[in-house]
């Protein structure tokens, strides 16, 4: 199970690094918002993987808060995004 945990965390880290590249590079602000959403979801996956492998379910509230509040930044940013803006 530790091997599964390590492989899972490595794949999640590679995905998060790619999203981080898009966060720094992304031509528009919307790209950065999308990549921040992806990074939030990958953080949820990491916390969930830790809970599943080690049987420590005390971080389920973290998952709940991230699922409920992770999209607020994206929605507010897209709401106030100017037309024709960058």
């Amino acid at each position: 199970m530790t091997t599964v945990y390590l492989v899972t965390m490595a794949l999640l880290a590679v995905g998060a690094a790619a999203a981080l590249y898009r966060l720094g590079r992304g031509p528009t602000t919307l790209d950065r918002a999308v990549s921040l959403d992806v990074i939030t979801s990958l953080a949820m996956c990491g916390a969930g993987a830790y809970a599943a492998v080690y049987g420590d379910y005390s971080d389920v509230p973290i998952l709940l808060v991230l699922a409920l509040l992770g999209f607020v930044g994206t929605v507010s940013l897209a709401h106030f995004f100017p037309e024709g803006g960058k």
Binding site: L12, Y21, L30, S41, L42, A52, F71
Partner: protein, 100 residues
Amino acid sequence: MSLMDVAAAVCLLAGAVLALSAGWGMVRFRSTLDRMHVATKPQVLCVLLVLLAMWFRNPTWATAGPLIIVAVAQIITVSVAAYVVARADYRRSKAGSDAS
């Protein structure tokens, strides 16, 4: 390792591969709509697979309750965020094509 542990491991690895595909798509795809499209699938399915793995490791109703709440909240919020981002990008591209 029991059968439930094997199922949990398979779910975790499938979710991690989906996360990797999300990162690959974020780097590779060209437009904002493409990247949003490729980002939303793993955002839902990867988290759902990890939650399923958490339930497989401890299959009781007491753990299933919060996990179901997390899953429903994630599905709703990801779809709302994708819709709002797509609308903003569509309006941006339309305004840009009108101006040129």
